[in-house]
């Protein structure tokens, strides 16, 4: 699975560059390779969708980039470059500075990313103060501006409310405001809409897309939902069993998927308007990490596999 040529956007250094990343989990039953030889770039202001089924390693890749791998997981090989500088070898203290200032995160469950004991205003203000050299009053003013920008009505009153006083969708908006307040260059959004109702999902995707365009922020959008990718991403990376199956511009991948896995994935999604009686199905299930087949990881489920795929 060599990354195709269009993986490297033309021009100067990409904002984020992941090269031959390999993540291992040593266990007492041997070492599990969770991520194997994954390479991709994210350009400034670009939205890269990272799609795959549960256990494909998409969230793990995100965690590795911002240095939040849970032990005993470790980066065994490869590098993560931010603006050409390696960041996977940085000591924890310096990594913490990058996290939040230059790269920030949005998680699936808005309730766990907000501290229930503090008002949202205080949480945003504090984050602004740790990363930027401005006074408290200015930070509060900025917090209200941010809340207005993410579409929270009456932000000058809502700024003093606690997270539980917001609805699910409004909470996720606050989380996005929090992620934006240090003006980061990259946001890693891990399933930002999965916990939300469908009608709220659409609003949050639109918001994320608009804000990142306005602020020229790059986004790595991790999701299992091809629909979210089609709505929001510029390019998409399809992951399977810890490897990249396909990467390319969204329209190309969605309309003419090249990899048999991506084709199967697209065919298995029910679509409105198309009167198909049977969905395309990929037989079997993704292998567990301790039983990844040799050769191409997808070969036992692939209808087009031949001898070379198996070795």
């Amino acid at each position: 699975m060599k990354p195709p040529a269009h993986n490297q956007p033309a021009g100067n250094t990409p904002l984020l560059s992941v090269r031959n990343l390999r993540i291992e989990f040593p266990t007492r039953r041997g070492t599990l390779v969770a991520i194997d030889d994954v390479s991709f770039d994210i350009a400034r202001g670009e939205v890269l969708g990272m799609v795959g089924e549960s256990g494909a390693g998409k969230s793990l890749t995100g965690a590795a980039i911002i240095g939040l791998l849970e032990p005993p997981g470790r980066i065994a090989a490869g590098e993560v470059l931010l603006d050409g500088e390696p960041i996977h070898t940085l000591p924890a203290e310096r990594m913490r500075k990058i996290r939040g200032r230059r790269i920030s995160m949005i998680f699936q469950d808005p309730l766990t990313s907000l501290n229930p004991l503090y008002t949202v205003g205080r949480q945003i203000t504090e984050t602004i103060l740790t990363h930027r050299d401005i006074g408290e009053a200015a930070a509060r003013k900025r917090a209200i501006e941010l809340l207005a920008e993410v579409g929270i009505p009456a932000p000058d009153q809502r700024v003093d409310h606690y997270p539980h006083q917001f609805s699910g969708g409004m909470r996720q908006r606050v989380v996005i405001a929090l992620a934006l307040c240090a003006e980061p260059e990259l946001i890693i959004a891990d399933e930002p809409t999965t916990a939300l109702d469908v009608s709220v999902q659409a609003q949050i995707i639109d918001l994320l897309k608009r804000l990142c365009r306005d602020h020229h922020t790059a986004v790595m959008l991790v999701t299992h939902d091809m629909g979210v990718i089609a709505e929001a991403a510029d390019r998409v990376a399809v992951m399977y069993a810890g490897r990249l199956a396909e990467i390319g511009p969204v329209r190309a991948v969605v309309q003419q998927p090249q990899h048999p896995y991506t084709r199967g994935l697209m065919g298995s999604i029910p679509v409105l308007g198309a009167d198909v009686h049977r969905l395309v199905q990929i037989d079997g299930a993704m292998p567990r990490l301790n039983a990844i087949p040799p050769g191409c990881a997808f070969n036992p489920r692939c209808t087009e596999a031949f001898a070379r795929c198996r070795s």
């Binding site: 109702d197 469908v198 009608s199 659409a202 299992h224 329209r251 298995s268 679509v271 409105l272 395309v280």
Partner: protein, 343 residues
Amino acid sequence: MNMPAQTPAPVPDAPLLLVEDLKCRFEVSKPFLNRVIEREPRRWLKAVDGVSFTIDRGETFALVGESGCGKSTVARLIVGLYEASDGRIVFDGRDLGQLQSEAERQRIRRRFQMIFQDPFASLNPRWRVERIIAEPIRVFGLLNDDAAIRARVGELLTQVGLSPADGRKFPHEFSGGQRQRICIARALANNPEFLVCDEPTSALDVSVQAQILNLMQDLQDELGLTYLFISHDLAVVRHMADRVGVMYLGRLVEVADSRTLFENPQHPYTRMLLATIPDIKMEGKRHEIVRGEVPNPITPPPGCTFHPRCPLVNDRCRSEAPHLLPTARGHLAACHAIEEGRQ
């Protein structure tokens, strides 16, 4: 909607299931002592507030809506996991609320089954798969000798695409999709006619979802099953259902057959829901604006509960709750705007 006579006789072309003005409320009051001290009244959540529909033999009827709309509560009311506070559920001519003896109840129960959402919670982790699947056979006393039960379990496992040898394993040895197959095998064990499927694929990955949906369709063709299919995913509903009911805050807002509903949605909420479906093939469809969120169901808005999010709202909508009425296009819709023709 069919309005049946007081004592419906089991007629072959009568609907298999008839639900009439079904209501269910849950108490969400504070504990007794707090209520007395804080002088608060008891508070109720109307999870289902007057829902009526019918399901014909062999068809798939889907209930669709966002979280808190009461679709899962309807499913649980039908299979008897919750008790209705009002209304009737009539299965094949028998009012489920009027059953006299436990034996009679058991005879009706034998004829329906349920498939749940979370394949990781719906199998007892301490039981082997064969015991899980055999449970309905034993409870209903369908087979008595162990060899026959084992043979039947093997047959069921084969039917859902697993191997009879899998019966010796424990649930944790299977993936999510395989577990959902085991759940389906268990649901088929007592030869039911009617399956209530509560979000059967929403915990699964899409490629596995396709496997399960295909399996469910095959089984329906093969065994002539009737499905009540609960889902929040409109594309899945469009794929599976013959007829669809759209729910919002405990009420049905629109009922129509699947094709006309998706091609020609009438109710403003249905239209909004359809607008949320991502344009997955990127064919450049334009979206209607989606706004607002589902309100807290403990304190629903007065009148039509959708009015704060509705683009067609007027004063009547704010005070008077609409009823499900036939529309010009043959749907049933609960909307003053449609009734008055302001579109």
